[in-house]
Point group: C2
Chain length 351, copies 2
C-alpha cells in the first residue's frame, strides 16, 4: 500500500493554527480508512527561521521537498520580515521551481454559507490561474535613486509555452468535468504587448477545442461581472496577477477568505504540488485561535483529490458543508463564536 | 461672461446616444441659468473615421483639442477596428499628452439605486487612479514569432514624478473634502520592482500628510473588501491598472456601469481635461436606444464642477437622483423599460 509522503510547511501567523486542523483531518481519515496512509514531515520555514538563519529555507530546501508527494502550506509573513522576502524566497521559488504552473482555485458557494450578494443563483466555478510567469517576475529594477528622474521598471514576461500549457489545462479541466465554457480574463485593449500575446495563444488553444465555448472579457468588466452575474461562469482562465485578484474577489462573493482553498499544481507529476488556503498569515488575529480552518482543510482535500483520492476529497467537503449547514460551530469570520480548534474538531467528527 | 468651449467626441456604439443626452442637459442648463454659457464643437473621431482615414484622429487632432476648456468623450470601439487601435490612437494619447494624470472616479450609491450587496451602509468613496504611466505603456514587444520560444515582454514604468503627483492629488482631495483616510492599493509583495517603488513614493507623500490616515492593502485583498466592507473607504489611491479594475468593480457594487462617471483631469489646467462614462461603447446594445445615459450625464456634471460650477454639478446629480428615486423612467440595466432619450428628458425636466 502506498504511504503518501506529505511535507507540512505551517509558516507564520494563523498558518500553523489552521494547518494543525487540516493535518488532524488527515489523521482522522487515515484512522477510519486503512487504505489511506500518510507520513507527514514538518518544516519550520517561516519568518522565525529567517531571523535565525538569514534565509527562508535551507540552501537545499527545494531538494528536500522533492522527495514528497505533496506539500501542505500554511501561510507566510509576519511584521518582522518584509513581505517580498518571505514571498520571493519561499512561496514563489516553490511555485516556479516545481513547475506548479497551475494555480487552481474553486469558487463555490458551499451549502450553509451566505453570499454577501443578493442574487440567489448557485455560484460554482473555478479559476485556473497561470502560476509560473506573467506579472510575477523579478525582472526589472529601479534607477536614479532619490533623484527627480527616479523610476522603476517591471517586466511582465509571457511565453508561448507558459500560456499554452495553462490554456490547455483549462480546456482539459473543462472537458473532464463536463463544463461547457472557458472565460478568458484579459486586458489586451490596454496592456498591448503582453495581453494581446496572451489572447493570441489562448485563442490558438481555444481553436483546437471548439466543442467548448470560448468567451473573453477585459479584467475590469469581468471583475464587475463577478458581482453582477457570478452564476454565469464555469472556468475562468487568467494570468498570474489577474488570477490573484479574481480569486480573492471570487472568495469574497462565496463567504470570504476563511473558506477559499487553492492548489499549486504541477500537472505532469514530475514535481510535488502544493496546497494552501488563499488567505494570508493574518497577523492581526494570529494567536487568538479564531482563524477559520475551513480554507486549509478544503486545501488538504484538494491535495487528496490530486493524490488520486477524490473519494476522500468529497468526504471532507461534505463534512465541511455539514458543519456549515448546522451553523452551530463556526468561527467569527462567518458569524459564529467558535475557535479554530472547535471547528476543526467538528469537521473531523463528521467524518 | 465666460463662454466655455467644449469639445464633444461622441465616438462609437452607445457613445453618441448617451452623449446626446448629456449635451442636452448642458443645453437646458444654459437656458435656465444665463450665467452658464457654452459652445460645443463635435468631432467625429471614431471607428468610422478610422476606416475612412486610416487613423483615429487627424494628424493635428491634439492641437485642435488644445483650444477647448474641456472634452466630453463618449466611448470608443466597434467590431471593425481592433480595440488596441481605437484606444492607443485616441483615448490614451489624449490622456497622456494632455497630462490628465488623474483619473477621478466616484463610487457612490445614489439615492434610489439598489446595490447588489446585502449590506446596507452608505457607499461613498472616490478612486484616484494614476492615469499617465504604470502598466499602460507601449514599451515592450514580442519575439520569436511562432517559434516554441516565442514570448512577449511588457514594461510597467513608474516614475517618482508620476507617483508623487497622483499621491499628492489624493491627499489634497481628501483634505479639501474633509475626508480622513487614504487607502493605497498595491501589490508590493509580488510585483516587486514597480509596486515597492510605488509604495515608497506614496509613503513619502503620506508622511507629509500625517493628519490624514494612511492604510495599504494588496489589490487582491482590497478587491474582496470592496464587496465585504465598501462603506469603510474614503479615498482609494491606485495605479493605472489597479484603478481600472477597482473602478469597474466599484461601479458594480453601486448599480453598475450605466451610472459610473469619470474625469481624466489635468490638475494644472495647462491642458483640457476629459470626461467620460466608465462604460465602453457596448456594441451589443448600440442602436437600440436602451443605453443608460446617467453615467455620461454625471460625467458632464463632473466636467461642470471642474470648470468651476459645482452648483451646476450638484443640480445635475440631484436631478439624476430624483429620477432614480421615482423609479418611473429607468433604462433596462437598472430594472426599467425606458429609453435612453426618455431618461435623458426626465433628468432634464427635473432641472
Ligand atoms: C478603454 C480602456 C483602455 C480604458 C482603460 O483601461 O483605462 C477603460 O477601461 C477605462 O477604464 O477608461
Ligand atoms: C502572497 C502572495 C504573493 C500570493 C500571490 O499573489 O500569489 C497570494 O496573494 C496568493 O494569492 O497566493
Amino acid at each position: 500500500m502506498r504511504v503518501y509522503k506529505i511535507a507540512i510547511l505551517p509558516g507564520d501567523g494563523i498558518g500553523p493554527e489552521v494547518t494543525r486542523e487540516a493535518v488532524n483531518v488527515l489523521q482522522v481519515l487515515s484512522e477510519i480508512d486503512s487504505t489511506f496512509q500518510y507520513e507527514a514531515t514538518e518544516f519550520n520555514w517561516n519568518s522565525e527561521f529567517y531571523l535565525k538563519h538569514g534565509r527562508m529555507m535551507p540552501e537545499d530546501g527545494l531538494d528536500m521537498l522533492m522527495d514528497f508527494d505533496a506539500i501542505l502550506f500554511g501561510a507566510i509573513g509576519d511584521h518582522r520580515v518584509p513581505d517580498p522576502v518571505t514571498i520571493w524566497e519561499l512561496i514563489l521559488p516553490i511555485r516556479k521551481n516545481f513547475k506548479q504552473y497551475v494555480n487552481f482555485r474553486p469558487i463555490k458557494l458551499l451549502k450553509g454559507l451566505e453570499s454577501p450578494l443578493k442574487q440567489n443563483d448557485p455560484i460554482d466555478f473555478v479559476i485556473i490561474r497561470e502560476n509560473s510567469e506573467g506579472e510575477y517576475t523579478n525582472s526589472g529594477g529601479t534607477m536614479f535613486h532619490a533623484e527627480a528622474r527616479e523610476m522603476a521598471v517591471q517586466n511582465t514576461v509571457m511565453t508561448r509555452q507558459g500560456v499554452t500549457q495553462i490554456s490547455e489545462f483549462a480546456y482539459q479541466y473543462a472537458r473532464e468535468h463536463g463544463l461547457t465554457k472557458v472565460t478568458n480574463a484579459t486586458k489586451s485593449n490596454a496592456v498591448i504587448h503582453a495581453m494581446t500575446f496572451w489572447d493570441r495563444i489562448v485563442e490558438e488553444v481555444a481553436d483546437k477545442n471548439t466543442d467548448i465555448k470560448y468567451e473573453k472579457y477585459y479584467i475590469d468588466a469581468l471583475s464587475a461581472y463577478f458581482v453582477q452575474r457570478p452564476e454565469s461562469f464555469e472556468v475562468v482562465l487568467a494570468s498570474n496577477l489577474f488570477g490573484d485578484i479574481l480569486s480573492d474577489l471570487g472568495s469574497a462573493i462565496v463567504g470570504g477568505l476563511g473558506i477559499a482553498p487553492s492548489g499549486n499544481i504541477n500537472p505532469s507529476g514530475e514535481f510535488p504540488s502544493m496546497f494552501e488556503a488563499v488567505h494570508g498569515s493574518a497577523p492581526d488575529i494570529a494567536g487568538k485561535g479564531i482563524a477559520n480552518p475551513m480554507a486549509q482543510i478544503w486545501s488538504a482535500a484538494l491535495m487528496l483529490e490530486h493524490l488520486g483520492r477524490k473519494d476522500l476529497h468529497d468526504a471532507v467537503l461534505a463534512a465541511i458543508e455539514e458543519v456549515l449547514e448546522e451553523k452551530k460551530v463556526l468561527t467569527p469570520d462567518i458569524g459564529g463564536t467558535a475557535s479554530t480548534k472547535e471547528v476543526g474538531k467538528a469537521i473531523a467528527r463528521k467524518l
